[in-house]
């Protein structure tokens, strides 16, 4: 998780399996379109073919590609989605492929397929896009459906599918696309190991979030200063709790010194957070009531000493 010094990406190859007759034709067509549409002008990117193949195989009857797909890497994401690009970046995205599809009666649907480099980070982007009140469906992992948008993850990939205008029969079509994409991704992947440090008692289901950047934390609890040192390579999980009400944050730093620096910054700040440290891991609690904050901190402290088993899902 933390082996990204210098931003060097270690690409894992993803085996893609053909799942339907004629898939090869779609792959060939997709690749031809990709390279004819400016992809070749992008910097060399080892995952290019895999992501193209996955999207190429995501064929759903009734839908046809509308326009050429776009591949984005690095800061080019801001040219596509402006501020919304900060969240994928805060989750460690490597590349994004965007493709629009058209249906004769349902209008347009957009697919965003993110190569996140690892299943932890794929879960991370998914976790930032769903809420506990989302409607969940089971694919390979849990997927979230919200108002014409479906978010899911599998292996090192996270996908967002959405309609550009409200549709009554949206869910069935979104799920058809999601299943087609899932079939084309062979690795299942697992949620981040850091989730084990979140206590399960009082936890609000489907609230855990995993990320690496301050922009993601800002959404959960805004503090102008980077008191957790999230700009220095830390990874963080945050869970919401109903009893007592509040949030628990767990950050893992590259080394113990970075964790100590964060602890000092948290206690110097007026953020209202309380924190405990153990090695290179810091647990913290935020709650409106001081007593709830104290109880959450004790729960966090306990979980740092005795982390739970791996989470099967988030």
């Amino acid at each position: 998780m933390l082996g990204r010094a210098g931003g060097v990406a270690q690409w894992r190859s993803v085996t893609v399996r053909a799942s339907r007759t004629g898939a090869a034709l779609w792959v060939a067509l997709a690749l031809a379109l990709l390279f004819a549409s400016g992809w070749a002008a992008s910097p060399a990117w080892p995952g290019q073919q895999s992501i193209a193949q996955i999207v190429g195989r995501a064929h759903v009857p009734g839908w046809t590609p509308a326009g050429a797909p776009r591949l984005l890497t690095g800061d080019a994401i801001f040219g596509y989605m402006d501020g919304a690009g900060e969240i994928p970046k805060a989750c460690g995205y490597r590349a994004l492929l965007v493709r629009r599809y058209a249906h004769p009666s349902l209008g347009h649907l957009t697919l965003e397929l993110y190569d996140m480099g690892s299943s932890s980070d794929a879960f991370g982007l998914y976790s930032m896009k769903r809420t506990p009140t989302s409607h969940f469906v089971q694919l390979d992992h849990r997927a979230a459906l919200d108002q014409g948008q479906l978010v899911f993850w599998k292996g090192p990939y996270a996908a967002i599918l959405y309609f550009e205008a409200p549709q009554q029969r949206a869910d069935a079509h979104l799920l058809a696309f999601a299943r087609a994409l899932s079939r084309a991704i062979s690795q299942r992947g697992a949620p981040p190991d850091l989730l084990r440090y979140l206590p399960r008692r009082g936890y609000v289901q489907n609230s855990a979030r995993f990320f690496r950047g301050k922009a993601a934390l800002d959404i959960i609890h805004f503090v102008p200063e980077d008191i957790f040192g999230l700009r220095t390579g830390a990874e963080m999980v945050v869970g919401t709790y109903s009893t007592p009400p509040g949030i628990i944050l767990v950050a893992r730093y590259p080394d113990g010194q970075a964790a100590q620096r964060a602890l000092r910054a948290i206690y110097r700040s007026s953020s209202g957070a309380q924190a405990v440290g153990r090695g290179r891991i810091v647990g913290a609690a935020w709650a409106t009531s001081p007593s709830a904050r104290g109880r959450l901190l004790r729960m966090a402290s306990s979980a740092l000493l005795r982390p739970g088993p791996p989470w099967p899902d988030g």
Partner: protein, 304 residues
């Protein structure tokens, strides 16, 4: 918020004219008067979730808003309060994710051309080219109004933009308002940072606290007219989520955005716990780009 009929509004319009008109830079006007004026025009019949745009209703809203803001009875004269004959005008659309209702841009372009400026360009956001149907609706709408689509130029409002390389003297914009995962709620001030020469990315940290920093240095030499397309409010990249059916007019970008946020928050929420007011207040208190103090913003609420 004060609510008046259109008839009464026109009766008192002349008295309301003054500092904000005449193409003066809004912040300058604000400094002179210590106050800003914003007009909110709402029409229940203009559009709805399952109802297409009602063009005559939109025209009535546009006319009511511009005359109220200018304090003029005549629509053409009202537009001339903001657009001068020697102006080189850039009209900027809302950019992508919550594209304008195309007719709002077309009606705004129509108003600008009524004022007969020296030149006008519809500097649509280059990202709109991902939505060819939107651009085609714009072109068709302009043609219907007798305005040449050749005035559309996608090479200015790029990310990063080229406004600073052109000699525009007047900026008219039609931003939309939407829930935003960095700013909490995106609106006018954020729109300026998107239109800046370095693009929005440098302004993303800390809930876009520096978004307002570009307004005076990069756009301060131009006169400003902001028409917030609040017909619908958007949700992230998912398109419209609430049909507000309003247009919001102002010349002070910060004050107009403060009121747009106020209207938004009546029925819609910010993105999770991000503080949407923060970058708007800092645009005033730190970057002196307009007025954020609600007590110093006069709002006229019109129903048509």
């Amino acid at each position: 918020m004060r609510q008046i009929s259109r008839r009464r509004l026109l009766g008192s319009a002349v008295a309301a004219a003054g500092a904000i008109g005449c193409g003066a830079w809004a912040a300058e006007a604000g400094r002179k008067t210590g106050r800003a004026k914003v007009v909110v025009v709402t029409c229940p019949d203009v559009i709805d979730k399952d109802k297409p745009l009602n063009a005559p209703a939109l025209r009535r809203m546009m006319d009511a808003g511009i005359t109220a803001l200018a304090g003029k009875r005549d629509v053409k004269e009202a537009w001339k309060s903001f657009i001068r004959p020697g102006d080189n005008v850039a009209l900027a659309d809302s950019g992508t994710w919550l594209n304008n209702v195309p007719e709002v841009v077309v009606e705004t372009m129509r108003g600008i051309t009524m004022a007969s400026p020296k030149a006008v360009t519809l500097t649509y956001c280059a990202l709109d080219e991902m939505k060819p149907e939107f651009l085609s609706q714009l072109r068709d709408g302009l043609k219907r109004q007798g305005i040449s689509p050749s005035l559309m130029d996608g090479s200015v409002y790029t990310i990063k933009s080229n406004y600073h390389k052109r000699n525009y003297t007047s900026l008219v914009m039609t931003p939309t308002v939407k829930r935003h995962s960095i700013a909490g709620v995106g609106g006018v001030v954020k729109h300026y940072s998107t239109m800046s020469k370095d693009g929005p990315a440098p302004h993303h940290p800390n809930a876009m606290e520096t978004a307002g920093s570009v307004i005076v240095p990069e756009f301060g030499h131009m006169s400003h007219l902001v028409i917030v397309d609040a017909l619908r409010f958007g949700d992230l990249t998912k398109g419209p989520m609430f049909w507000q059916k309003s247009l919001i007019f102002g010349t002070d970008p910060v004050a107009t955005d403060v009121i747009a946020l106020e209207v938004y928050l009546r029925n819609c929420k910010p993105y999770e716990n991000l503080p949407p007011e923060r970058h708007r207040i800092l645009a005033d208190t730190r970057y002196h780009a307009g007025i954020s103090d609600r007590a110093r913003i006069d709002v006229t609420d019109i129903r048509v």
